[in-house]
């Protein structure tokens, strides 16, 4: 079937061979050093100007970072976040045109434990990065991922955002800042000597056990990202930062957007890939590198000797089909070769999207996913993919009463799995929660669609950090309590049975 109403004109142009003119397309004088797209050729000087301008323009246009604000840069050692660090350094430079006016700090999370690096390997990488950070001259924090095991519950609770900072107040803040004419130089703050926290071996083991309890690499990557995000937010909060800058570039975000769609995160797409993300309330995540392609960044880093430190990740050296993330990355990369507009087209899609439905400032806890903290997307209408899967699950497992002719009644709203049907109901034990032990809470009802998939791919949730499990218990208790109360509050008009 060449189906689905094929009325698209075939407007996608294939790659044409670049016809590189020898001269820079901007100054028309110096010879070309970089080709961004076939049309854009730059000499060294113009390329630098273009690159630097783009960074400040992105920040300026979005007016989200206020003068004097403390901003935490998440630096992984990769090219993109290192280029971001470099741009902040440049922008704070005394002589910079359109000087940046915020107070930066750096955070590096050492995830060596997730990829089974030895203590020595981890230390070597950390000291390499320390050198880079010291040279940058900003305060920096180096945290082993193991720290995530000791986070407080508050991490997974969105904090109320401090007074709404509107665009109109931005100008006032700038004026105020300039008038204050701070006597002490911003960049000259003393760099606190942060010693790397000591990692207990038992902590490393516990974290490895947790990551190992995810049966698929897809779930493992998702889990790791979530934990990292929690740790970043916690560090920002506890050290008094109000913005968190991530180094996601355009290529990375195109992959992320397609990955998110494939993982059922459509409702969260705008937050996952947009310029700013306010899901945590008090800490706003910002992605200032999103207008750069990976190629641009690589060229820049190479030409201007921006130091990077290569750190292996969970999916380094894995085959394409090892996880949804790997597959999507290789798909986009290959498509980009044949159709050079692929990345920019996908990326533009992300700019046209916003978070679905209800306002994102909902303060109700149960409206937020316990793990990714996005607005819940599981309270959907009867005719939906989520409900259809629920119906399929019900029809595919043993019925307690054995009556076969009860067509699909209204399926229970959320996450009723194999309720007491025992092991035989779960077939070969795949995809059901049968083995979950008694003391671990059933997290399903507290999670968004996609995080439910991640948990479904885990052997057990008992290795999750305490802050997640105890917050889950708390929410479930509150949920039950509200259920109890609502029974009393209901009138006869509304049958109480199906609450």
């Amino acid at each position: 079937m060449c189906q689905v109403v094929e009325e698209y004109p075939d407007q996608l142009e294939r790659a044409d061979l670049p016809s590189v003119s020898k001269k820079c397309g901007k100054c028309k004088e110096a010879s070309t050093a970089v080709v961004i797209r076939t049309a854009d050729t730059y000499c060294r000087g113009c390329f630098k100007e273009y690159f630097v301008h783009k960074f400040r323009a992105t920040l300026g246009k979005n007016r989200i970072i206020f003068p004097g604000e403390k901003v935490l840069l998440a630096v992984s050692g990769g090219p993109s976040s290192c280029a971001m660090l470099n741009q902040v350094q440049e922008g704070l430079n005394q002589n910079a045109h359109k000087k940046l006016r915020f107070l930066p700090g750096i955070i590096y999370i050492d995830e060596g434990c997730a990829v089974n690096q030895t203590v020595e390997e981890r230390q070597r990488k950390v000291s390499e990065l320390q050198a880079v950070f010291k040279a940058a001259g900003f305060p920096f924090h180096i945290m082993p991922l193991e720290q995530v095991l000791d986070l407080p519950n508050s991490v997974v609770v969105a904090a109320p955002s401090p007074s709404e900072q509107l665009a109109s107040t931005y100008k006032a803040a700038v004026d105020h800042f300039i008038q204050a004419k701070r006597s002490n130089d911003l960049t000259a703050q003393d760099q606190e000597e942060t010693s790397v926290p000591y990692v207990q071996e038992s902590h490393t083991q516990r974290l490895q056990q947790l990551i190992g309890s995810a049966k698929t690499l897809t779930a493992r990557e998702d889990l790791l990202n979530t934990l990292k995000q929690h740790l970043l937010v916690h560090i920002a909060r506890s050290k008094g930062y109000s913005k968190l800058m991530l180094g996601d570039n355009c290529t990375r975000l195109a992959v992320k957007l397609l990955t998110s769609i494939s993982l059922g995160r459509g409702a969260q797409l705008a937050q996952d890939t947009g310029f700013s993300d306010s899901r945590y309330g008090d800490i706003i995540v910002v992605r200032p590198m999103r207008d750069y392609s990976a190629n641009e960044i690589a060229s820049y880093n190479h030409m201007f000797n921006v130091p990077c430190v290569v750190i292996p990740s969970l999916n380094t050296k894995t085959p394409d089909r090892a996880s949804v993330h790997c597959l999507t990355e290789s798909f986009v990369t290959k498509l980009q070769v044949d159709f050079p507009s692929t990345v920019s087209t996908i990326y533009r899609t992300s700019e046209k999207l916003q978070t679905a439905g209800r306002s994102s400032i909902s303060t109700n806890l149960c409206d937020r996913c316990l793990l990714c903290m996005c607005t819940m997307d599981t309270a959907v209408e009867k005719a939906s993919a989520f409900q259809a899967t629920q119906v399929s699950t019900q029809l595919s497992q043993a019925k307690p009463t054995g009556s076969k002719n009860t067509g699909p009644e209204q399926p229970t709203a959320s996450g009723q799995c194999c309720s007491g049907a025992g092991t035989e109901g779960c077939g070969s034990g795949v995809g059901c929660c049968s083995s979950a032990s008694v003391k671990t809470p059933d997290l399903k009802s507290l999670l968004c669609y996609s995080c439910q998939l991640t948990i479904k791919d885990m052997l057990s949730v008992e290795h999750l950090p305490a802050y997640i499990l105890s917050e889950a218990q708390r929410r479930l208790r509150r949920f039950r309590m509200r259920e109890d109360i609502s029974e009393f509050l209901l009138d006869d008009g509304d049958e109480g049975g199906d609450v």
Partner: protein
């Protein structure tokens, strides 16, 4: 050691369900598959009692299973629908004429009335003739646009209230991916809708009862039920770009089988930012069919064919619509650009 059915816990399972990971025996699978389509029909309120519904039948696996299940559910649950089969003859020798034989057999097997509308009678052009003029590059555009309208015209001749098509979960997920890859936000928003209301004169509401049915299960349903379907690829090569999305989707499914539903869930929950320009639906000034331009796609394509300027409808030539409408001649330069090119 055979795996047992997870529903009846007695018989040998014959398939592993991609949607949920359960294993079912043949009987329980048939039951679950049919009940799920029923649930979809009821939950989305696709039909009203007494309606006449045309099943778009191509002779392929999806529409054959759709016709079978629609007839079965209509009887099992007394929907009170009058069902008929509606086929389009694109005029492709060695492909459509063979598949139409399958549809004719279906007509007898299911005792449903059948109407065939052909491109030749509607447009005066068969696909064979179109390919002769335009070559193999953009022929799928012609076929897709013409088919959409042909179904509507056939439905109006039959006086049906609704058309249901065999689009399955894989098709919907693939379309979501395609629209992301093309940056087409307007279509991205529309493409997961299970039904479309009548958008204007000459457009019959459509729905997809198999929207949540996996292709794997449709094929196995047809196989185990020994349904008669036709499975040859169209001889005029399918769209290459769509092929990329299909391969990606199948690879995704092999990594995480629920991916197809997950993508549909994503599509159902996407929200387009306010202020993003959306095309305004109007009607074609020539034939009255819905169109966001002065002339609908189908009329432009047809005009191009009849004037020997096949590229008229390929790409964007909206500015020429007024000229065409007022029957003004095109300039030589315009003509040269629209002539058929290298193939």
């Amino acid at each position: 050691m055979p795996v047992l059915c997870s529903a009846c816990t007695e018989k040998r399972a014959v398939l592993k369900r991609p949607k949920t990971g359960h294993s079912l025996c043949k009987e329980c699978f048939f039951w679950a598959f049919e009940e799920e389509v029923h649930y979809t029909i009821v939950a989305a309120q696709l039909f009203k009692p007494g309606e006449t519904v045309a099943i778009a039948a191509s002779g392929g696996k999806d529409s054959t299973v759709l016709a079978h299940v629609m007839k079965l559910l209509n009887e099992r649950y007394s929907y009170g629908l009058k069902l008929m089969l509606l086929s389009v003859d694109e005029g492709i020798t060695g492909y459509r004429d063979d598949s139409l034989e399958t549809v004719k057999r279906n007509q007898e097997q299911y005792e449903l009335p059948l109407k065939i509308v052909s491109y030749e009678e509607l447009y005066g052009w068969t696909m064979d003739a179109i390919v002769k003029q335009v070559g193999l590059k953009n022929n799928c555009t012609f076929c897709g646009v013409f088919r959409r309208q042909a179904l509507d015209r056939g439905a109006i001749i039959l006086k049906v209230d609704k058309i249901c098509t065999g689009h399955n979960a894989d098709d919907v997920a693939e379309t979501v991916l395609m629209n992301v890859l093309r940056g087409d936000v307007a279509r991205l928003r529309r493409c997961t809708a299970i039904s479309t209301a009548s958008e204007g004169e000459g457009v019959v509401p459509r729905c997809k009862p198999l929207k949540y049915s996996y292709e794997k299960e449709i094929v196995l349903y047809a196989y185990f039920k020994k349904l008669d379907y036709f499975s040859t690829e169209c001889i005029y090569s399918p769209n290459a770009y769509r092929g990329y999305a299909r391969t990606f989707l199948k690879d995704l499914e092999s990594i995480r089988p629920s991916s197809i539903m997950d993508i549909i869930h994503s599509g159902e929950n996407l929200c387009v930012r306010e202020g993003v320009k959306m095309p305004v639906q109007g009607t074609c000034k020539r034939c009255g069919y819905i169109s966001s331009q002065a002339l609908c796609k189908s009329c432009v394509l047809l005009e191009g064919l009849n004037r020997g300027l096949p590229k008229l409808g390929i790409g964007k030539h909206h500015r020429l619509h007024d000229k065409i409408l007022s029957q003004q001649p095109l300039t030589e330069k315009e003509e040269r650009k629209l002539k058929s090119v290298d193939f």
